[in-house]
C-alpha cells in the first residue's frame, strides 16, 4: 500500500506582536491510501496549521511534506490538482446555487463544461444534494451546506480530501450523516485527512488517529490500539469512606502487579487501568474478598480517547471542550 501523505519534521512559526510562536514543532506521520486519518487535539494544538501546510495554503518553515507523491513546497500547483480541501468555513458562494458553485469549482480545475456537468450530476446524487441544487446557498441548512462543501472539495476527483473540523456546529443527526458520506468516499478509494476536537468523531470515524498537543504528536494508532496500548481497560470502583476503606482499597490496588495505574475522577470514582479487564476483574474481586473490603460498585468500562489524551498530557480534552464552550 502506498503512502498518500508523508510529513517529515514539519515546523511552522508565527510572529505575533513581536513574539515568535512555534505552532507546529517537528510533526512526522504517514497516511496510506484509502484511510480516514484523523488529527485529534484541542484548539490551538497545531492541527489546522499542519493541514494548511499540506494543502499549499501556508509555506513550510522546516521539514518536508509529500502529498500524492509530490513535494508540497516545490510542486504546489501539481499538488493542488490532486487534493481537495474543505475549510472550517466552507466558502461556497451564498448568492449562487449549489449547482452553480459546483460547476464553477469544476471548471477552475481546468475541466470542460460537459465533463463538469456530468460529474456534478454524480455528486448531487452521491451527497444527496439534488433536491435543493437549484436553490441559492444562503437558503441551505447547516447540514445541507456542509455536504455541498464536501462536494466542492471532491468535484475534481482528488486522491486526497482534507477536511478541517468537518462537523463543528452540526447537530448529532447531521454529524452521523456526514460521517456516513465520508466513509463512502473512503470506500471509493479517497484518502481522507481530517482534523477534529471531538473524541467521538475520532473514535467512530477514523481508521487511524494522531493525537496532537501543543504542536507535537503525543500518540498515534487506531482508536482501538491507542485505547488498549496506552490506557488498557478501566475498572471503575466506588467505595465508601467509612473506617479508612478508601485508603485500604488504594493500597490493595497499588500492590496488585497487573494494575498499571489508578486515578481518581472528579466524582470520587477510582479508575484503575489494567491490561486485560476480563481477567483482572475476578482477580480484583478475590483480593477484595480476602481483605474483607466491601465495595459499593465495581464495573469494567471501555476506555475512551479522552483517557488516552489524559494519560499522555495530564489534561482532559473534555474539560477544554467544556471550557471553550463556556
Amino acid at each position: 500500500m502506498t503512502n498518500v501523505i508523508e510529513a517529515r519534521e514539519l515546523r511552522k512559526r508565527f510572529k505575533a506582536r513581536g513574539a515568535t510562536v512555534e505552532a507546529v514543532r517537528g510533526v512526522s506521520f504517514t497516511v496510506p491510501q484509502g484511510e480516514i486519518f484523523g488529527f485529534l487535539g484541542p484548539n490551538g494544538a497545531g492541527k489546522t496549521t499542519t493541514l494548511r501546510m499540506l494543502t499549499t495554503l501556508l509555506t513550510i518553515d522546516e521539514g518536508e511534506a509529500r502529498v500524492a507523491g509530490l513535494d508540497v513546497a516545490s510542486a504546489a500547483a501539481k499538488v493542488r490538482q490532486q487534493i481537495g480541501y474543505v475549510s472550517q468555513l466552507g466558502g461556497a458562494d451564498n448568492l449562487a446555487t449549489g449547482r452553480e458553485n459546483l460547476m464553477l469549482q469544476g471548471r477552475l480545475y481546468g475541466r470542460e463544461r460537459a465533463d463538469v456537468a456530468a460529474r456534478v450530476e454524480e455528486l448531487l446524487d452521491l451527497l444527496d444534494l439534488a433536491s435543493f441544487a437549484e436553490r441559492q446557498v444562503k437558503t441551505y441548512s447547516g447540514g445541507q451546506k456542509r455536504r455541498l462543501d464536501v462536494a466542492l472539495g471532491i468535484v475534481h476527483e482528488p486522491q486526497v480530501l482534507f477536511l478541517d473540523e468537518p462537523t463543528t456546529g452540526l447537530d448529532p443527526q447531521n454529524r452521523a450523516n456526514l460521517w456516513q458520506h465520508v466513509r463512502t468516499l473512503r470506500d471509493r478509494g479517497v484518502t481522507v485527512f481530517l482534523t477534529t476536537h471531538y473524541l467521538e468523531e475520532a473514535d467512530a470515524l477514523c481508521d487511524r488517529v494522531t493525537i496532537i498537543d501543543d504542536g507535537t504528536i503525543v500518540a498515534e494508532g487506531s482508536p482501538r490500539e491507542l485505547k488498549r496500548d496506552i490506557v488498557g481497560d478501566a475498572v471503575v470502583l466506588r467505595v465508601g469512606d467509612e473506617d479508612g476503606t478508601r485508603a485500604r482499597v488504594e493500597t490493595l490496588l497499588a500492590d496488585a502487579p497487573f494494575v498499571r495505574s489508578t486515578t481518581q475522577a472528579e466524582d470520587g470514582e477510582l479508575h484503575c487501568y489494567v491490561d486485560d479487564g476480563p481477567a483482572a476483574l475476578p482477580e480484583l474481586l478475590r483480593r477484595f474478598d480476602a481483605a474483607q473490603i466491601t465495595l459499593r460498585a465495581i464495573s469494567l468500562s471501555e476506555p475512551t480517547l479522552d483517557d488516552v489524551f489524559l494519560a499522555k498530557t495530564g489534561r482532559s480534552l473534555r474539560d477544554r471542550e467544556a471550557g471553550a464552550a463556556a
Binding site: 501556508l58 490538482q81 448568492l95 452553480e100 477552475l108
Partner: protein, 252 residues
C-alpha cells in the same frame, strides 16, 4: 489561455453575484449622481476654467468620472474582505486556478460595472448640456481602466494583508480624502496656492483628473495626457504585480 479562461470564469461569477444583489447598484450610483445634482449648480458663477467657454459640466463631469474610478477601485477590497472571512478566497486558493486570475476576475467585473455607471453619468450629463467628444472619451476610458485597476489591486492587497475591516477601512479612508482634495476633482487645483499644485504632482489621481478634463474637450496635444499615461501605466503594473504576489503568499 488559462489566465484568460480563469479570469473570465471568476469575473462572470462576481457579476452574477452583483446582479443578484442589485441594491448596491443604486447605492453606488447615488454618490456621483448627487455630485452632479447638488454640486454642479454651485459652480454656475465660479470661473472654473479660464479661457474655456461652454457648459460647466464640461469641466466638472470628467472629474466625476475620475472620482468614480477612484472610489470604486478603493472600495474593491471590501468584497475581498468579505470573501476572505467567508472562506471563499481560501477555497479558490487551493484550486490550480491562476493566481493573477483570482485577482483579476473580480477586478474585471468591477471595471465593467464602473463603465456602466460612467455611461449613465454621461447620459445624465448630456441631458444637462455636456458636450460629448467620442474620441476623447474613448482615450479617457483607457485611462479610467488603468486607474481603476491600480486602485482596485492596491485595495485588494491591503484587504488581504489587514484581514479585518477596521484596519482596512482606516487605511482606505486615510488615503481617500487627501488624494481626493489634492486632485482638483471638485475645483481645479490652480485656484489654490502654489504649494498645493506642487503636492498635487505626487498624487496619481491629479494626473487622471487633469487628463480627463483635456480629453473631454477632445484635446490630444496637451502635455497632461502624456503625463497621465507616463505616471499611471507603470503604477498599474506595480500595483497588479504586488497584489498578485500577496495572493500567492500565505493568507493566514
Amino acid at each position: 489561455m488559462k489566465l484568460v479562461r480563469d479570469t473570465r470564469l471568476l469575473a462572470w461569477r462576481r457579476s452574477l453575484q452583483l446582479l443578484r444583489n442589485p441594491v448596491w447598484l443604486f447605492v453606488s450610483l447615488t454618490v456621483p449622481l448627487l455630485y452632479l445634482a447638488l454640486f454642479t449648480p454651485l459652480l454656475k458663477d465660479v470661473p472654473v476654467a479660464p479661457g474655456v467657454g461652454g457648459n460647466v459640466l464640461d469641466e466638472f463631469l470628467p472629474g466625476i468620472l475620475a472620482l468614480l474610478a477612484f472610489t470604486s477601485g478603493a472600495n474593491a477590497g471590501f468584497s475581498t474582505l468579505f470573501e476572505l472571512q467567508a472562506g471563499v478566497i481560501e477555497r479558490f486558493r487551493v484550486t490550480p486556478a491562476s493566481r493573477l486570475a483570482l485577482l483579476l476576475g473580480p477586478l474585471v467585473s468591477g471595471m465593467a460595472s464602473m463603465f456602466i455607471f460612467d455611461l449613465v453619468l454621461l447620459v445624465v450629463g448630456v441631458l444637462f448640456g455636456f458636450h460629448v467628444h467620442v474620441p476623447g472619451l474613448l482615450v479617457l476610458a483607457v485611462l479610467l481602466a488603468l486607474f481603476y485597476l491600480t486602485m482596485a489591486a492596491f485595495s485588494t492587497a491591503v484587504a488581504l494583508l489587514t484581514k479585518e475591516i477596521t484596519g482596512f477601512a482606516a487605511i482606505v479612508n486615510g488615503i481617500n480624502l487627501p488624494l481626493m482634495l489634492l486632485a482638483g476633482v471638485l475645483l481645479p487645483i490652480s485656484l489654490g496656492p502654489g504649494w498645493m499644485g506642487v503636492l498635487a504632482h505626487f498624487n496619481p489621481l491629479y494626473y487622471l483628473v487633469t487628463a480627463a478634463r483635456t480629453l473631454a474637450l477632445d484635446t490630444f496635444s496637451d502635455g497632461a495626457l502624456w503625463q497621465a499615461f507616463a505616471v499611471l501605466t507603470p503604477l498599474c503594473v506595480v500595483s497588479l504585480a504586488w497584489a498578485t504576489r500577496v495572493y500567492r503568499r500565505a493568507v493566514a
